[in-house]
């Protein structure tokens, strides 16, 4: 059943090109499929690099940091392109950053255990 409250009174025809707005105020199809495909290939390429790095051990003790850095770059690509944060308004970007901050809480309190586990009290 249709819901008039969530159905826009006047439908705006999508403009050709970029930065079109749908009826719900959601930005749609802001990036071309070609660009998204390139980003997809980059993310998959970084994934392959990460797997290769974990098996080769070429970076020694720096492997973990390199892998985390690659993961961060992948997440950034996903956020900026697939989640359209590049075109998001301030509230959307702030929300995304808040979730990163939230993950920071997990990591910081989590590391409070791992980094002090071998210290002896007293």
């Amino acid at each position: 059943m249709a819901n008039p409250h969530t159905t826009p009174a006047t439908a705006t025809p999508p403009a050709a090109g970029h930065d079109t707005h749908g009826g719900h105020g959601v930005i749609g199809h802001v990036d071309s499929p070609g660009l998204l495909f390139v980003v997809f290939l980059v993310v998959i390429g970084l994934f392959a690099a990460n797997v290769a790095m974990s098996t080769s051990g070429a970076l020694g003790k720096y492997t973990l940091f390199a892998q985390l850095a690659i993961g961060a770059v992948q997440a950034t690509f996903v956020g900026l392109y697939f989640m359209h944060l590049r075109h998001g308004d301030k509230v959307v970007v702030l929300t995304a950053l808040a979730s990163v901050f939230w993950m920071g809480i997990l990591f910081v309190l989590f590391m409070s255990d791992y980094m002090t586990r071998n210290r002896v009290m007293g």
């Binding site: 059943m1 409250h5 969530t6 979730s99 997990l106 255990d113 002090t116 586990r117 009290m121």
Partner: protein, 590 residues
């Protein structure tokens, strides 16, 4: 704005005439099964959740019955140890993931949030329906796991047992939890966007009902926490299926890592379960004490405080799991902090009740039961947050009792209060007042008899999840099982009188409790889009103006059942002022 008012004020607004019954209403607009399975009406989806979770509640209750009956004898009364393990795991998984988490957001949140804020539906009606289907797919996997023999890991699914040793149906059970998590995210997202974007004119943040505030805070936890447990369950499945070492120390993993990730969600999940119940209680206590809420902003912000602080204290579940002393100290301190917003709520509820014109209909009995049991559950939580006492009490029946005081005494009673409070609105009929009061009394008495002995058992060292115990513990276990029987009887009563009310119940008016919220403006049951198309609500005041005797549209309140004019605060203009120091009875918010 804060305005002092007294009980002796003029009747400031006339009582509006009873709105005519909605034709059609959301129940009779169509009758086919297809129309229900494809509905995008938030009220119908709420009822779909109601039916689903009721089934899981019964199934979880049966599993609890198996556990309690088996504990009648020190050596196990009638099932073997493996079956016992599967019974308590089934009880935990069903109750937590398929009843407690979706109960209030899925049923009452779906049904009431749009009505309370003056909207026609949730922001994403199709996503709302999708959330129910996703929930049912997840539940289907859970049922598969149970029918195939169950899971024996405990609901916490700790590896390496769950990933390496268990021969039970871990994968379908965990996959069901994983899938149902998406339903939780969808519901949280929908409620959050709806509250932000679809409030009626005049419905400012300071005029939102506290139920809405509590579900907003709940949605925040659902959005931020659920993805973590989703990924954790995926990692568990990967380890179990592919043998990749993540949590199992035999293959290079760390079992404490699982506990960190699991509790990062699962402790806040406790607040996913209890916060909506707190919202219900704020609505019920104000209505049945005919008082404005005491400290509106404090109660509203304490919900947000619980949501935020609740994320900072997960490792108090792991004090004896091998985490560092320093970290344990930090988490012990942080765990104490959550008592602050919780206590703010309880003190403000108590302040609301003070000098109220209290009546004891079933929702109020459940509500008062909630407050008492939640206080006990919360205070015993402080025992477990304290490092020293937790080492003594960890993994004993003390924890089981504490958890059930919060989850059953708190959340289930909150849910029951909500169902009884809004049942007339949902179905347009009144249930048996007498039987509902009897059910509330039986449930509360049965609850105490079930779980108080478990505090004693736990303090004396009986571990949780053990099928056998020393003979000196038998008397407490028999008491607990007897209490569970009474509790079960109490739960059975609503299963009869609520459905019977649909056939035999008296017709309910639009506002049978003389409550102030926007949801009571519409006829009962509500029309398809909640409000009269030509007369959408414009909010003029806060949500609990019982002192002034007006609803959120500024209209007078009808007398409630059994209350009459004598209990209508707006009609007390001729009554002499009550003795005592408290002249400023309440505040006007918004």
């Amino acid at each position: 704005m804060t305005t002092a008012v007294t009980t002796a004020g003029p009747k400031i607004a006339p009582v509006p005439p009873e709105p005519p019954p909605a034709e059609p209403n959301y129940l009779n607009v169509s009758y086919s099964l297809w129309s229900w399975l494809t509905t995008v009406d938030h009220k119908r989806i709420g009822l779909l959740y109601l039916i689903s979770i009721s089934v899981f509640f019964v199934a979880g209750g049966v599993a609890a019955g198996v556990v309690r009956l088996n504990l009648l004898s020190p050596d196990g009364a009638f099932v073997n140890e493996d079956t016992y393990n599967r019974a308590f795991t089934g009880h935990g998984v069903l109750m937590l993931f398929f009843f407690l988490i979706p109960a209030v957001p899925g049923v009452l949140g779906n049904f009431l949030i749009p009505m309370m804020i003056g909207a026609k539906d949730l922001a994403f009606p199709k996503l709302n329906l999708a959330s129910w289907y996703v929930f049912m797919v997840g539940a289907g996997f859970g049922v598969w796991a149970l029918l195939a023999g169950g899971i024996d890991t405990g609901w916490t699914l700790y590896p390496p047992y769950s990933s390496r040793s268990s021969t039970s149906n871990v994968i379908p059970g965990v996959f069901g939890v994983f899938i149902s998590g998406f339903s939780s995210i969808m519901t949280g997202l929908n409620i959050m966007v709806t509250v932000h974007k679809m409030r009626a004119p005049g419905m400012t943040w300071g005029r939102l009902p506290l139920f809405v505030w509590s579900l907003y805070a709940t949605s925040l936890i659902q959005l931020l926490g659920t993805p973590v447990v989703a990924i954790t369950t995926v990692l568990l499945m990967v380890e179990r299926v592919a043998g990749i070492g993540i949590f199992d120390p035999m293959i290079g993993g760390d079992p404490v890592l699982f506990q960190h990730l699991f509790w990062f969600y699962s402790h806040p999940a406790v607040y996913i379960m209890i916060l909506p119940g707190m919202g219900v209680i704020s609505e019920v206590l104000t209505c049945f004490s005919r008082k404005n809420i005491f400290g509106y902003h404090a109660v509203a912000w304490s919900s947000m405080g619980i949501a935020v602080v609740g994320f900072l204290l997960w490792a108090h579940h792991m004090f004896v799991a091998g985490i560092s002393f320093y970290s344990a100290l930090l988490f012990s301190f942080l765990s104490m902090l959550v008592a602050v917003p919780s206590a703010i709520k309880v003190f403000n509820w108590t302040g609301t009740l003070y000098r109220g014109s209290i009546t004891f209909q079933a929702p109020m009995l459940f509500g008062l039961g909630f407050v008492v049991l939640f206080v006990i559950g919360g205070l015993t939580g402080l025992f477990l947050a304290t490092l020293g006492t937790d080492i003594h009490l960890h993994d004993t029946y003390f924890v089981v009792a504490h958890f059930h005081f919060v989850m059953v005494g708190g959340m289930v009673l909150g849910y029951m209060a909500g169902i009884h409070f809004w049942w007339p609105k949902m179905f347009g009929v009144m249930y048996s007042d007498w039987w509902s009061r009897v059910a509330a009394a039986i449930i509360i008495v049965g609850f105490f008899l079930t779980f108080v002995p478990q505090f004693v058992l736990g303090y004396h060292g009986m571990p949780r999840r053990y099928p056998n115990y020393p003979a000196e513990f038998q008397v407490y276990n028999v008491m607990s099982t007897a209490g569970a029987s009474i509790l079960g009887l109490g739960y059975l009563l609503p299963a009869f009188y609520l459905p019977l009310s649909l056939v035999f119940g008296k017709k309910a008016g639009a506002n049978p409790w003389s409550a102030t919220g926007l949801e009571w403006v519409s006829p009962s049951p509500p029309p398809l889009f909640n409000f009269d198309e030509a007369n959408m609500p414009v909010v003029v005041c806060g949500p609990y103006e019982y002192a002034l005797g007006v609803d959120q549209l500024g209209r007078g309140l009808p007398p409630g059942p059994g209350l009459g004019e004598a209990n209508d605060p707006a009609s007390k203009s001729e009554a002499p002022a009550a003795p005592g120091p408290m002249k400023k009875e309440t505040e006007v918010v918004g």
